[in-house]
Symmetry: C2
C-alpha cells in the first residue's frame, strides 16, 4: 500500500476541498488549492489546520512531516506540476467539463484527474475529455477527512485499482464499483432510505425526531457494524441468508409494496423543516455538526478496538 | 422514570424472548417464561446468563439484585401473577390472536399485554381482544438486550406513555408512533434501503460485499450518530434543511426516480447468497454475530462518551 508522495491539486475548495486538503497534507502530500472564489489564504489555512488536528486524533498520527499547502492564483498554476488532481466543483456537467478542458491543457499528461462528484456519472463527465483513460470518479462521504468511504469508478481497471490504493494509503475505505451509476452506491442507499423517511412523516406515522431516533438506535446503529446484506445473514437464529430469503423473502416483497413514493411538495417540505427545528431544539448547525463529528470520531475508534479485540 | 419492579411473563422464548429475559432480570424484574417448545430450563438459563453479562457490561451495572427467572409449564401459569406480558410468538395473526385469548382468560385484568411484533400492526392484532385498551406493540431491534430501540404504539395515549416509561427504565430508547404501520418505522426504513441494496447487486453496479462496505463506512456510520433528516440539515455549509430542500430537493426527486424495484427471483437470491458467502470469507454465523455484538457494544459506549464530552 506504500506509495510515494503525490503532488496534489485541489480544484474547487469549499467544504470538501478543505477537508481533502487536511487529509492529503496530514499524509505528507503537498497540495496546491485553487477556487474561483479566491478564498482568503489565512482563514483557509486555519480551517485546514483544524481539520488536520481531527485527522491526527483519529489516526493517532503526529510525528510525520505534513505536506505543504499553497493557495494558487489560477487553475493552471495549481495543476502545472500535479500528479493527482482532485476536482470538487459544483454538481454541473457543463461546468466540470469546462474545467477538465482547462486541466488537460495545463497539467502533466500523466496526472490523474479524480472527481469528487456525488451524483454525476463517469460516462457523462468523461465524454469530451482528450484522455479519459486517466479520469476517475472518487466520491468521498462528507466530511472526507473523517468519514472513511471513497467510492471509485473508472473505465480503466488499472486506474480503478491505482485510485483505490491511493485512497487506502490515506486511511480511507475505498470501494470499487463495477459500473457507474447516478449516486454511486452510498447515495443511492441514502436516497432510498430518505424517501421512506419522508413518507413516514408525510403519512403521519411518526414525526421527524422520532424517525431519526428510530434510525440512530436501530438500523443505523446496526449498519455502523454490519452491512444490510450481512444483517439478513445474521440474527435469524443461525440459519443464514438463504434461509431468510426462502422463509421471509415473500414478506419483504410485501413490505416493499407498502413503501411510499412521496413528492417534496411545499406542505411536506414545511413538515420537514419544522420537524428538524423541533429535533434541533435550539442547537445551532455548528453545534450539531461538532457533536456529530465528535460522535463519529469516537465510534471510529470503538470499531478499531472491536476489530483488534476480535483478532 | 423510576418504576416499581414488574412481574413479567415472556410468552414465546426464542432468541427475542431470551434476550428480553436477560434485560428484564438484569433490571431486577422477576420473569416467568413459557414457550410451546418447552425449552430445557438449564441451557436456557445459561444463555440468558450470557446475555445478562453483556447487559452488565453495556450498562456498567452489577450490584443490584437480579430478578428471578422461572420456566413455566403452561402459558396460564406464566401469566397468572403477571403485571407485564411480553409476547414474542411467530409473526402470524391467527396464532397471536389465539394466544391473546388465552392470556386474557388467565392474566390479572390490569396486566399490560405487549407484543414484540416486527411486521404486524396494532389494529389487526387487537381486533378480537376483550380489553384492547391494555394492548401495546413494543417492537425491539434484535437483540433487544443490546440494541436500544423499542418502537411503541397503542391506541390509548396513556398506555403509550406508560410503555415508553417502562422500556426507558430498562435503558432502552423508546420511540412512540402516532399511528400503526406495517414495519413500524425502523423496518420500513430498513426495507427501503435493502430494496435498493438488492437492486444495486441485481443491476451489476456493485457486488454484495462492496454494497455492505459502502454502507458501513458511509451512511450507516453517519446514521449511528445523526438521523437521516438531521443529516440533510447538516453538511450543507451551515444553511440547513430549508436551503437543502430548496436547492437540492429536485435532484433528490430525480434520484428517487432512478431507484430500482427488484423482485427476489431465484437468480437474484443466488447472487445474494453467493455474495454474502464471499463477504463472510469463511467466518461462521456465530463468529460474525459475536463480532457484530462486540462492535455495537463498543459503539454504544463511544456514543455515551461523546454525549458526556459535549455536556
Amino acid at each position: 500500500m506504500a506509495q510515494g508522495p503525490e503532488t496534489i491539486a485541489i480544484i474547487g475548495c469549499g467544504l470538501i476541498g478543505e477537508s481533502w486538503s487536511a487529509l492529503f497534507t496530514a499524509h505528507g502530500h503537498d497540495v496546491a488549492v485553487w477556487d474561483p472564489a479566491s478564498p482568503a489564504a489565512e482563514p483557509l489555512l486555519e480551517r485546514v489546520e483544524g481539520a488536520r488536528r481531527q485527522v491526527r486524533r483519529i489516526e493517532g498520527r503526529g510525528t510525520e512531516r505534513d505536506g505543504r499547502l499553497l493557495v494558487a492564483r489560477t487553475l493552471e498554476e495549481a495543476v502545472a506540476a500535479a500528479t493527482w488532481i482532485q476536482e470538487n466543483a459544483p454538481e454541473s456537467v457543463p461546468l466540470k467539463r469546462e474545467l477538465y478542458g482547462r486541466i488537460e491543457g495545463a497539467a502533466p499528461p500523466d496526472a490523474v484527474i479524480a472527481s469528487s462528484t456525488s451524483s454525476l456519472t463517469w460516462s457523462e463527465l468523461a465524454r469530451d475529455m482528450r484522455h479519459p483513460g486517466r479520469f476517475v470518479t472518487a466520491h468521498p462521504f462528507n466530511p472526507p477527512h473523517i468519514m472513511p468511504l471513497v467510492e471509485i469508478y473508472a473505465r480503466d481497471a488499472a486506474l480503478r485499482e491505482r485510485a483505490a490504493g491511493f485512497y487506502r494509503s490515506l486511511g480511507r475505505e475505498a470501494v470499487v464499483l463495477n459500473r457507474d451509476a447516478v449516486g454511486h452506491v452510498a447515495n443511492r442507499l441514502a436516497s432510498a432510505l430518505w424517501r421512506e423517511a419522508v413518507n413516514i412523516v408525510a403519512e403521519g406515522i411518526a414525526d421527524v425526531a422520532t424517525v431519526d431516533a428510530a434510525l440512530v438506535n436501530g438500523p443505523g446503529l446496526r449498519w455502523s457494524a454490519v452491512g444490510a446484506h450481512m444483517a439478513y445473514h445474521l440474527g435469524g437464529g443461525g440459519e443464514g441468508i438463504a434461509h431468510y430469503l426462502e422463509h421471509l423473502g415473500p414478506s419483504q416483497e410485501r413490505r416493499w409494496a407498502t413503501l411510499g413514493s412521496p413528492s417534496l411538495t411545499p406542505e411536506i417540505c414545511a413538515m420537514l423543516v419544522e420537524g428538524v427545528a423541533a429535533e434541533a431544539a435550539g442547537r445551532s448547525i455548528a453545534e450539531l455538526e461538532a457533536a456529530r463529528d465528535e460522535a463519529i470520531t469516537r465510534i471510529l475508534a470503538a470499531r478499531k478496538e472491536a476489530r483488534h479485540a476480535g483478532e
